[in-house]
Homo-oligomer: 321 residues x 2
Amino acid sequence: MAGEFDLIARHFAHPAPDSFLGVGDDCALMPIQAGMQVATSTDLLIEGRHFLPGTDPYALGHKALAVNLSDLAAMGARPLGCLLGLALPSLDDAWLSQFARGFRELAQSAACPLLGGDTTRSLSGITLSVTVFGQVAAQHALRRNAARPDDDIWLTGTLGAPDIALRLLTGALPMQATLLDATRATLERPDPPMAFAPLLAGVAHAALDVSDGLLQDLGHILSASHCGALLWYDALPVHPALSGLPEDLLQEAVLGGGDVYQLCFTAASKDRDTVTELAEGVGIQLSRIGRIIPQETLTVLDGQGRPISPTVRGFDHFRTV
Amino acid sequence: MAGEFDLIARHFAHPAPDSFLGVGDDCALMPIQAGMQVATSTDLLIEGRHFLPGTDPYALGHKALAVNLSDLAAMGARPLGCLLGLALPSLDDAWLSQFARGFRELAQSAACPLLGGDTTRSLSGITLSVTVFGQVAAQHALRRNAARPDDDIWLTGTLGAPDIALRLLTGALPMQATLLDATRATLERPDPPMAFAPLLAGVAHAALDVSDGLLQDLGHILSASHCGALLWYDALPVHPALSGLPEDLLQEAVLGGGDVYQLCFTAASKDRDTVTELAEGVGIQLSRIGRIIPQETLTVLDGQGRPISPTVRGFDHFRTV
């Protein structure tokens, strides 16, 4: 960091935790517990592509970190810290203050302190790069390829609301102010299950965050694990604000809607009580939504056990793999 | 990664080392030796700001990683791996192939494998984000604030050549083809001392990479360590191609020229032989260029022991701190 862009850093300045080395040296340093591995993920977020010009800066700061934290959760990793690269076309103090507050508040609540970064002036719009680090016991990382036949399939949180909010905001659905009010926070301030995910290391088999839609993301687990699944449509945790929607739209939003940033994972059925107790212990919503099968097919069953063939993109994607 | 930009990933695909988890899951995983800390650094590189449009893609791939590896070297850390974020306005297979080759060849020679990343389409120019990880014994990281009075000051490699090459390429100096030929590689393909730096952990006190110019960067060590330095101008390792330059220009390039990505470090004078032997063991050029003093001043002495007062920016910067 150099020159006027040093000013940016002040919006983010906070002391690094004991035994960490934060902003100001060549590298950030993080202590790792013996036997743990480092899990890391990075995202580039570009204005006009990943977020709209004029996006509320508080929400943007929150979401930029949340989508990366979600990747840590999907490995069963406990957050250690993060780095932020920030390219801005100009210095807007009010914008920066709100962005930094959104980022920092989530960093604090998720115990994922900002340890360093890079700031520069961009020649066009805003570009963000966020890198997160976590630790997970070497043998217990939740990989995509570890689902086994007869595993239960579990999902945290609810489905559908971010997709409906996005449709309302982009005009793909006619505006309904009450529905937007009830769903918008799920799109703009996703809340990945950071306290719950590390508890699954050593219990769950495979895991993924639902960023591209339940069927598509579950499809990634099934492809990597060389197995298939039955999903029970009536067991899916639909967001309560969506109860009045037409069935076709609801099904698309629930099975295919992205931006959920909740955890889909599989675990042995013998561990069903353990999984339930872990979720109750941290107070998160958890639903058992299906079962892994050896045949490499993904079938969604209705309440009468009849297959549904939804036409959402994620499902097509899986079927053509 | 999604859609056509999956193609990009193929240019970078290579198997991750044993016990690492690379591209394709939610996170990359890295094993850490017991007692080691993770050192990490990130950079955003923007076309038109950090590199010129039309920059040779092989050189860009090399340099994007080299400047980050240099930050690991400056902590005394041994590389573990890296992540790459790549935003491109269009898919240019020839460009990508060369960029990936420059990045990959340095990643291999520095034992810093690419473990994952993010690719997307940009709306304007090329944006790169590179994050590197290394490990260093918890008590032996080379911090900026650890220089002590009577320490020797050491420098790897040579000074001045990248600055002269940049002046020739930007027209700040009239073109001299022979001089450009002899200096260009130092600017475009910096070669941080990756094998040497980890050997200094536990031996050296403070360290920094010379990215902004020797006086400015040494100034950072002195400010953080609350001490000063004597530098011996005649002991500075001037790049041999610069021998015919006018003295004023030479002094500016050597004392103030950036983009060097060599290591400036301090160590106790009792360890002088150890330091020399470590450098000889890995075959790198090393020069003893000065001494740390308790007074918080930075003085450059000529061959007769008289103070030089160069007018380069870095020196001014330090004096006004």
